[in-house]
Symmetry: C2
Subunit: 142 residues, 2 copies
Amino acid sequence: MDSEEIDVLEEYISKNNLKITKQRRAVLKVFLECENHVSVEELYNIVLKTEPKIGLATVYRTLALLTKSGLALEMDFGDGQKRYECSHRSVHHDHMVCTGCGKIIEFTHPLIEKYQEEVAKQNKFKITSHKLDLFGLCQDCK
Amino acid sequence: MDSEEIDVLEEYISKNNLKITKQRRAVLKVFLECENHVSVEELYNIVLKTEPKIGLATVYRTLALLTKSGLALEMDFGDGQKRYECSHRSVHHDHMVCTGCGKIIEFTHPLIEKYQEEVAKQNKFKITSHKLDLFGLCQDCK
DNA sequence: GTTGCTGCAAAGTGTTTGCACCCTG
DNA sequence: CAGGGTGCAAACACTTTGCAGCAAC
């Protein structure tokens, strides 16, 4: 396991009077190893292989904990389930979601960000976060 | 009621062997009169005033019908419920969602759209739709 | 040995569906 | 009067919560 992330988690945990458990370690390990935008169910099924007794509720609770500690980011692509990505793994990015195969391509475009700021300023709006999803067909699904 | 929209609905209905009912009229009327981004529950509560016997399921079914007929657009701001807006009322736009008071400001920026196309092309991705939400604080909530 | 954590099951959300009856066309 | 529409309640999918026993510190 990458010591950097377990450190982040342990720091958060000790600061908040919480405890490290083998379930939390297991969820964190799988979360760090699997690809971005995992759903809870997907993660749960992987964790089950190393921690067969773990409950789905624990996975939900641990992902909430990872989100609060800043290790995970919660995403919603409108498909009715929460998905998570590692916040450390990349700086902010947006998503192209292929409606054919479900593949998610990440991207950023500095000018798009710039014009977002511009339009916000025009409306006297202070952006704290944003979310840009392009839906369509990827190269393979065209 | 605006005759334009009832025409669109009736055309869709007659093309698909469906029927006009007073419930559908009532939902359409309220939908056209209320502000954009209504949730189903909000709409339901307003419709109840003129159609006290209507069921929530009918509102869901009618909104699905309006969406299929092209009158309504389904939105998801990640708050766990579907919201709808009139598709005729405006051309495409994006949203600034105030996390303080819930206000939604609509906007478009031609250059943002342009750079979306550009980045899609670089990834050989064909955009069918997109969704840009800025979250933050509006003028009044800063 | 406290106090937080876990697994389980039950409860909660928002949404959809099955069905008998009703109403439009 | 046939076939779609309605209201109701049950079913659904995803997520959260209450609780008794368990484990980390």
